[in-house]
């Protein structure tokens, strides 16, 4: 067995040192009835070649998004990841290290997390960010629970434009943790006004920008309305590249930003692992969930980094912790940090402009298809089309022609027949104009 260094001779030596006749004797505390003498009914060990062959066969049963014209978004976006990113995250010193509890031997992890925190704070326009969460959906639920702690209130108002999975995740936490959420209905045709739903029991208002349907809005007035009632504004971002082009939440008065960072540095990977981003104002930092890296000095006075404000966390506070989160998304955060540092100001803004331009071109091409209506004319890199018939069937028909056409809204809102004809379409820098023309032509064919 290639992963196990001990030889039988060594095992016998070690047993002699321990003073037991066999390894089985070391398991003497296991109840007899639960002890298994024989291997389980599973296949025996295999060499690399066989495992590789078997898994490659399964991989071949999928259609990679990059192998066809692909326009899916809805919270996960296909971007080009520079080769440097995947090379560096596979360095064993990063990949096979643990959470940096021993700062003297993990300055590498700590420094990149400090850089990550700074990048996230800069692009969101917030004061401070943590060292990452599982994903955007769980970060959103954590944001609401944090707002509940800050305001000591238990009622959250949720926008109809929040990603349905984020809504469901937040609702699940609300059910079990015992807080209330008031969810506005998803309606891509009206500009909802949540200010009227805020009262003096409201802990926070949760909006998404660009929202699930792709609309970009200014939430400054909503922030003021929330603050006037003592509530917080939580702004969720699905497509983090958008912050290279649109006004960041921090400039609108957001108190907490919960975001999905997958677009920078991380592949689609069927939806995970991705990286949740979480940022807030300085004054709320002690109510923040998750790990934080801080700057300090060592015994010689040299600058260095440590995990800090740990008393918020489960390993110290136990049942009084701000969250039960322990593992985060360290390596995905590293991928984000590397990609973002390669982009820099020029690259990030340029990438955002490119995404917007591609989506804008695509919208024009698709809106020209007879029977197709562009629902929202203001968007970043994703928009909603109204089709003359149910979008799910159209997407299935297009798959047969070799185009991954987008996400039918009904996939995420199966219970809302009024949304059945809507199709979410995203374009990124990876889509060529030829892809777009092919999509438009084939859409016309199948309608």
């Amino acid at each position: 067995m290639r992963y196990l260094p001990l030889t039988d001779v060594e095992r016998q030596d070690m047993l002699a040192t321990i003073g037991v006749p066999s390894v089985d004797a070391l398991f003497c505390d296991v109840p007899k009835a639960a002890w298994r003498d024989k291997p389980f009914d599973l296949p025996p060990h295999q060499g690399e070649l066989q495992v590789e062959r078997a898994l490659a066969k399964l991989a071949a049963q999928n259609v990679p998004a990059g192998s066809v014209p692909s326009f899916l978004g809805a919270g996960v976006y296909r971007h080009h990841v520079p080769a440097t990113v995947d090379h560096i995250i596979q360095r064993g010193e990063f990949m096979t290290s643990y959470t940096p509890y021993q700062p003297e031997v993990t300055q590498g992890t700590l420094q990149y997390l400090f850089e990550f925190q700074t990048q996230v704070a800069l692009i969101t326009g917030m004061d401070v960010a943590n060292a990452s969460m599982y994903d955007g959906a769980s970060a959103t639920a954590e944001a609401v629970m944090m707002a509940n702690r800050v305001t000591r209130r238990t009622r959250a108002v949720i926008s109809g434009g929040l990603h349905p999975h984020y809504r469901e995740t937040t609702a699940t936490h609300a059910h079990f943790a015992g807080f209330t959420i008031e969810q506005a209905a998803p309606n891509p045709s009206v500009d909802e006004d949540l200010a009227a739903s805020i009262d003096d029991k409201t802990s926070c208002v949760v909006v998404q920008n660009p929202d699930f349907f792709g609309r970009v809005r200014d939430y400054s007035a909503l922030a003021e309305a929330a603050h006037a009632k003592g509530a917080l504004l939580v702004v969720v971002v699905n497509e983090i590249v958008s912050l290279g082009a649109i006004t960041p939440p921090g400039e609108m008065g957001a108190d907490i930003v919960a975001a999905e960072g997958q677009s920078i540095g991380n592949p689609l990977t069927f939806g995970g692992p991705h990286v949740g981003l979480f940022a807030t104002r300085d004054k709320y930092v002690r109510q923040m969930p998750g790990r934080l890296v801080g700057q300090t000095v060592d015994a010689d006075g040299r600058r260095g980094w440590v995990l800090t404000l740990s008393t918020r966390e489960q390993h110290i506070r136990r049942e009084k912790a701000t969250s039960n989160i322990c593992t985060n998304a360290g390596l995905c955060a590293l991928a984000f940090t590397i990609h973002m540092s390669l982009l820099g100001e020029t690259g990030f803004v340029g990438l955002a402009a490119l995404n917007h331009a591609h989506a804008s071109l695509l919208a024009d091409k698709l809106a020209a298809v007879p029977g197709v209506t562009l629902l929202n004319d203001g968007f970043f890199n994703e928009f909603t089309l109204a089709l003359p018939k149910p979008a799910a069937g159209v997407v299935e028909a297009l798959v047969r022609t070799g185009v991954l056409a987008g996400v039918p809204v009904s996939r995420l809102y199966p219970d809302r027949p009024e949304l059945a004809n809507l199709l979410l379409v995203a374009a990124t820098e990876t889509n060529t104009e030829a892809d777009m023309d092919e999509f438009a032509a084939k859409l016309q064919e199948v309608l």
């Binding site: 002690r286 740990s310 008393t311 110290i316 506070r317 009084k320």
Partner: protein, 125 residues
């Protein structure tokens, strides 16, 4: 003439007539280690005996500070926000947490005097 009382949870309370000052004992401060953060109650807050009144944190530990008696907070120590180390340097003096007006003097009878508290500390060693 002020009198000092102690709790089993290592708070001290110095009483001057109706008003009193509360902090944590030098023994508690030493056990916590270097204090890095203190959250004190705001003036006007009503406290009940034995209930959470403040929070004190070191790098590796966090602890609630309980109200030794019931009363209304008149002042939280503003100096602790900038200099939490005062708790380590002068736990019984400049490192005080909050002042309150005592609502029920009879509650003081349940507290420990110096000798009883010293005995409690000695026992835990």
């Amino acid at each position: 003439m002020s009198t000092i009382h102690y709790t089993k949870s290592h708070e001290w309370i110095r009483v001057d007539g109706d008003t009193a000052t509360v902090g944590i004992t030098a023994h508690a401060a030493e056990a916590l280690g270097d204090v890095v953060y203190v959250e004190v109650p705001a003036a006007g807050k009503a406290l009940s005996k034995g209930k959470e009144a403040a929070v004190v944190e070191s790098v590796k530990a966090a602890s609630e500070v309980y109200a030794p008696v019931s009363g209304t907070v008149t002042e939280g120590n503003p100096a602790l926000a900038d200099d939490p180390a005062l708790v380590n340097k002068d736990a019984m003096g400049d490192g005080w947490f909050f002042k309150l007006t005592v609502s029920d003097q009879s509650e003081l009878a349940d507290l420990l005097d110096q000798a009883a508290y010293d005995a409690l500390v000695a026992e835990s060693h």
